[in-house]
């Protein structure tokens, strides 16, 4: 089977890769592009560990075929920080101890950023439903929700000043 050539933008940079027609975008990102931040926890779209944003939509990259990425703009956890400056969500996750084993963390960060981009001042309930597609088995979600609240406050304050 001949491989498919895909051209897209990943984390602001032009990117191209070869993939199999039946390969998932998650596998292509991990194995062809070398971005292993997105994780496979289930491969069936149930855990959100592979969350990415493609053309502005939050999705599970395990449910996208790699060739579908042609011409799209993709953001992954690797693109969240600007140089040495962490995104406020990353900083708040660190300071708030919102990760334990850390394997779900990239997916949560990507999903939380998508939430705050859409809704900069979410209520606790909105955060909980906004992140309901991401499973964490370590934290009980308490510190994750608090970290997202703290980041939202920080981002809003920065935007207002």
């Amino acid at each position: 089977m001949s491989r498919v050539h895909v051209t897209c933008t990943i984390n602001g940079d032009p990117a191209e890769f070869l993939c199999d027609g039946g390969q998932t975008l998650l596998d292509a990102l991990r194995d062809e592009v070398g971005l292993t931040g997105a994780k496979e926890g289930c491969g069936t779209g149930d855990c959100g560990a592979c969350s990415i944003v493609m053309d502005g939509r939050l999705l599970c990259s395990c449910l996208v075929l790699a060739p579908e990425a042609e011409g799209t703009t993709i953001s992954t956890v690797e693109g969240m920080a600007s140089g040495d400056d962490l995104h406020p969500l990353q900083q708040c996750f660190l300071e708030g101890a919102a990760l334990q084993c850390g394997v779900c963390t990239p997916g949560f960060l990507v999903a939380a950023k998508a939430l705050l981009d859409r809704n900069p001042e979410p209520t606790e309930t909105e955060i909980r439903y906004g992140l309901a597609g991401n499973l964490c088995r370590c934290t009980g979600y308490d510190k994750i929700v608090r970290a997202v609240q703290a980041a939202a406050t920080q981002i809003t304050a920065t935007n207002e000043s």
Binding site: D46, E78, L94, A132
Partner: protein, 753 residues
Amino acid sequence: MTVTEPKPSYKYVGTRPVRHDGLEKVTGRARFAADLNMSGQLHGIVVRSPHAHARIVSIDTSEAEAMPGVKAVITGDDFPAVEPGHRQYDMCINVIARDKVFYEGHALAAVAASTRDQAQAAAAAVKVEYEVLPAVLTIDQALAADAPVLHAHMMTAGANPPAEEPSNISNITRFSGGELDAGFAEADLVIEREFTTQPVHQGYIEPHACVADTGQDGHTTIWCSSQGHFNVRSSTATLLGWENTRIRVIPAEIGGGFGGKTTIYLEPLAVALSAKAGRPVKMVMTRDEVFRATGPAPGTKLRIKLGVKRDGTLVAGDAYLIYTNGAYAGPGGLLGAMTVFESYKIPNFEIEALDVVINTARSAAYRAPAAPLTAYAMETMLDEIAEELGIDPIDFRIQNAVTEGDPSTMGFPFARIGFVECLEAVRDHPNYKAPLGPNQGRGIAAGYWFNIGESSSATVNLNEDGTATVVTGSPDIGGSRASMALMAAEELGIDVYDIRPVVGDTEAVGFTDVTEGSRATFATGMAVVEACRRMVVELRGRAAKMMGVEVDDIDWVDGQAVYTGSDGDKAPLSVAEITAKAKRTGGPLTATGSLEAHGAGPGFAVHVCDLEVDPETGVVRVVRYTASQDAGTAIHPSYVEGQIQGGVAQGVGWALNEEYIYDSDGVMENPSFLDYRVPVASDLPMIDAIIVEVPNPAHPYGVRGVGETGIVPPIPAVANAIYGATGCRIRDLPMSPIRVLDAITSNGGSNGA
């Protein structure tokens, strides 16, 4: 935080620094096992049994071997034979079946090929002829007189009189104390209840994964996700019949374990495939494989009878506990027996616990193994008794709680413990008095876990610039690197961020047991402290040389060598000043600590669950949750809270949703997160964690392990709260909407005796 005793003032211990491995984990750079790739790597796929119980008549790999890209195919014949009685017989025949498969998903062959797709195609082409046997799927089936016997060699251990015929009972545990009949005769109230629970999965988000690279010299390197890489080494060596020295295991970051990664599945297969193919082999389980073939916690049938006097004094307890450990012998019943009556003073008791084998995946440890289920039974019964006697449920528990000096079930006196303090902390919390709305109920429950010590090693290396590297053998599942760095910082007087905590591989640090039994911060922490104290002795000696004085005149104060002699003033020397001159005072500064840790302080927890039951649908929604737990001393309080909160979430899932569902042939019907349904963020409220600190006298900083106890109280706390909201006692797990609805609509369901 509730501090119950005065404790020394620490500079670092008890603070909340950003964890040292945090940056890598929030930027996606942390390397978990499935993130690793080797040059020339092949992909390994396991061939698994579709049957719950079958004899393997033949395995034909010839077609698979001839397929494109296939470089190696292995079966049980590629490993040394093992016979019953072998020390790790069960582990060996679980990792790869020999003559029989014992559950759906049991591994029986493996294939390595250039791509994963090729390996999958070849795995599907391995031809296996089975003689399908009747499957034993429940405790009742396993104990039936005419039950098929899974293991022809299984003679019940602990049977009295000794077993003469093989059976599906692997083990019987009996503990007793006092005079049971006399105890019940003293009682004014006696109640007896039965409970059933189903197996549940640990549900770690990262599936099992490893890469093995076996060289022509017969040595192999394994990179893998595990709770203990020394155990991966020894178990792999056992299965292959190799010496430990031929195997190096390098721990990758681990994406959750909760006990499920204390055993091994893939590593020996990857090594054998790699040896056969002469190439590195990577193996990663799918979620489906994780559910079908790894780690469930046991299902149970429990029957308990309690006797109590009118004044609330417990006088007698009789427990009959049956645990299924899946297809092999396991410790569920033993651990149930060790925990069922442990928290309370019950002078007259008998406990009989059976471990039973059935045709389901081999159980693995899950956070305080067995204890959440005995707590479910005990703590809901105590709730009933307290109500019957008209005593506040917390006062009732305080009245009967074990305290220092009371004997445990096995007769040992408890050292200083914090059970009563945890009860008081919850009673005094404003949440305990918060008003409840319509259809809401409040449930109280306590939990206990004994915690363990075991072997740990640590090495402290001081660097030329005065910073330090602390190497331990404990994989970091939830922040233990930060704990190690905090204790080292306190000992050495070096800033916590100038210490680099590292998890060393099997050739880089001394032997260290698996991270289990809540032991890492306790036992490995003790090894770190021991290494640091040796380092301080060395530092004082070096400083004495530099000052030209006697070492006895040097004290170590706040990270400096301070001269206390009478020969005039001498400037104190910092660590950096001493390490800078190390070449002239004796060479590199390194110290180790290796020990067998004793005195793991038992952990107690008390939870209050407030929930609301939808009377139309039976859906239960937790609206408020308060959890106290004795941490001894919280080294990094944020991660102690995290352990408590995580245990609560898992326990709530266990109470309300989670269970293994099999069809009549023993095929698992819900092997995905969608159908198995662990709690998500919108299922839970904030979880108010109260850290109680009753220092453990056996640890230099008073640490008690905190990883497991938090999962013990939630099931009964939820059950008691459902009773509060509906008047129904539900004694079967999970308390799913349909079961709750049934209970409500049948006017009390299993309520009452």
